[in-house]
Subunit: 408 residues, 2 copies
């Protein structure tokens, strides 16, 4: 019998950084319509000012603001209307004190105007005269040239996962093609004599390939691509061949299943059979997720996830998401949800415990209910909305204690 | 001058439900590899038990648990090993009291066995005898037939947006093809003489089509599809033609821009020019987002979003996301993040105020910093991670007050 020499979660993360952070991922150009959730491979600096002219934010009259100073309801100021700005066109007229020009929302201000008075505060006396009743200050209702984005300003940084707001920023710069990282390529191998695919007959004693499909969707969610997904029986030669193809064709090879001693040994031996450092991690002080194997084969990461679905998904979220974020330099903040635990909860001292929970909102507060069950149960996961992390040195949580829930 | 007759956010939501909840969206079958984030169009019930046999969760020996009762380190129980279960195969042998069978993790239990003792607690004396030192109880280290999912049990409900855990559940049932709603089809029209596309020259006075691209990505995020995205000048006939095509080819037509009075009038008039109820909402008690127009044309929703990017995106999140969730019966809970506001904040009484904020974590607590700026500024959005909602009857928030942040 072999005992695991387990490592802490942080030790494992360091091993991932030290060995795989520099895996080289190529870049490609995509159009702005296809860049949603892709990761920028270089900083984006603006080549223009946005807006590149002084722009009115309201429908009104562009004036020199000092013309309005001192005016009131009973003491209006009268201004001469000397023209109108056409939407989307450059202004070729200017104003002097005592003059004004009509400007629609988004229209360009004449050079000497410094503010816009809304039509709501204007009385139109005749075609060429208005009365204004309200003093306004310099810059009122104006977005100045470069107010939003300045020329040469870096607006989005390398490693940014592009969201809808970022797409708005890119559009404002006129950026149609954007350089992003190519998807990280994964091979996903489910192992075990009992594992069958969805199109096979469910014979007695067999079980469907849950992990393979769940992991493929987690990869998709992360922005990765699955080069090949397969099921391999508990056989050293077959597993070695599949891992060998994985190493050739992808950046990261994920094995799952193999929770029986036999398969675990095969995974271990296969990883050690390639050029490279072989097995780097065999066992993590983590619950669930202890039987995790991490190896380096021909400069690629080969990672054996536990066989139980809950464990496999937790380990994916802890280590694979982390590794991908490191490789692509992704700086995403994920926010936790504050909640109150609705029961006393024991943990496993010495291991970092990840406890699945569901959340319920009562009187404006979230209450977390631990979802118990065996980690082979996939419904344990589908009923949970997230998990809480209990540190190695903590024996448990008290009912009503405040906790932070990490959403799945 | 025309004043808006504004409605509250809740009134507008009711109008959306009453008029558009029953827009018919067809369904289609997709494979499990393509169903991530699609929406189930009917309940999924299991046709099998998962697992469909009693399954060991450890490597060990399947026993009758009463054989272990009373044993201890100094008083072991001796059992005869009568066989071994092969992984993934049906067991054709059974045990009597005093006997046991080796079972790997995930292997099937013999009929009469009710528990599995882990190999860690077993001493192998010879090929056919083990000594056990620890009493175990019925069901220990076993997942019973149907423990995870029972035959006929509804495991996923209509309206569920499929996540990775759900894909695990679907795989466990052997569900390869899944019936989901087709994407809701959108037409996205940006209006305004000043709006130019990304491939046009940025002449003085013009501005890039920010909203069109940002909205397309919001639609993609929601799972919708964009049938056509276009830019239309401030011209009644051109706008009418584009909206007419949109009504024919899509489920929802979104206009944006048109924050100037002229365009606003065109949008209003075009909506009223089709068969149907015409304009239903013209102005919402919402900041930002007041100049929102909602109409019904030939049983389709035609919705004019405000021209300022921040307003357009907020209105999309409040009303379009809501409408899509209603049409597809999506029951997603979105969780808010508890935070403390780092400054006093005035709101606009009488309007529901959506204030963009950024979040910073200090000493295990989140602090929200309001992002101020004009709502025409797209960088205002890209610097924010979410927003807080201040109700109509509230004049503002005090520094250090606890608030809930809705993530973007």
């Amino acid at each position: 019998m072999e005992f695991f020499n387990v490592m802490s979660v942080d030790e494992v993360k360091n091993i991932l950084i030290n060995n795989f952070k520099n895996i080289k991922i190529e870049t490609e150009k995509v159009t702005i319509l296809d860049c949603y959730e892709r990761v920028l491979s270089k900083d984006i600096a603006s080549q223009i000012n946005v807006p590149d002219f002084n722009r009115s934010t309201v429908d009104g009259y562009a004036i020199k603001s000092n013309d309005s100073h001192g005016c009131s309801d009973c003491m209006p100021t009268f201004l001469e209307v000397t023209g109108e700005v056409n939407m989307g066109q450059a202004v070729d007229i200017d104003i002097k004190n005592g003059q004004c020009i009509y400007v629609p929302t988004g229209g360009m201000l004449p050079k000497s105007a410094d503010s816009v008075i809304m039509i709501e505060y204007v009385e139109k006396l005749d075609e060429s005269t208005i009365a204004i009743h309200k003093p306004i200050s310099t810059g009122e209702n104006v977005v100045y040239k470069g107010d939003d984005i300045k020329e040469n300003q870096v607006v989005l940084k390398k490693g940014k996962k592009i969201n809808s707001q970022d797409i708005g920023v890119l559009a404002s710069l006129g950026a149609y093609e954007i350089e992003v990282y190519k998807s990280i390529k994964f091979t996903v191998i489910s192992t075990g004599d009992e594992i069958i695919d969805l199109d096979e007959n469910l014979e007695f004693g067999k079980i469907r390939d849950i992990n393979g499909y769940a992991i493929c969707s987690l990869i998709k969610k992360l922005g990765g691509s699955v080069v090949k997904k397969s099921i391999v029986k508990d056989n050293y030669e077959l597993l070695k061949e599949e891992v060998s193809n994985g190493i050739k064709n992808s950046d990261i090879v994920l094995l799952s299943g193999g929770s029986s001693v036999g398969t675990r040994d095969y995974t271990h031996d296969v990883i050690n059979s390639f050029d490279g450092q072989g097995v780097l991690v065999h066992g993590v002080a983590l619950k669930p997720g202890k039987p995790t194997i991490i190896g380096e084969c021909e400069n690629k990461a080969v990672i054996g996830l536990p066989g139980h679905p809950v464990s496999a998904i937790i380990v994916f979220k802890i280590f694979i998401e982390y590794l991908v974020n490191q490789i692509l330099d992704i700086k995403e903040t994920t926010y936790t949800v504050d909640a109150i635990i609705n029961t006393n909860l024991h943990s496993s001292p010495g291991k970092k415990t990840y406890q699945m929970v569901s959340l319920e909102e009562i009187a404006n507060k979230y209450y977390a209910k631990p979802m118990f069950g065996k980690s082979s149960m996939i419904t344990l996961l589908s009923k949970s909305c997230g998990y809480i992390i209990i540190d190695e040195d903590c024996e448990g949580l008290y009912k009503e204690q405040e906790i932070k829930v990490h959403l799945l």
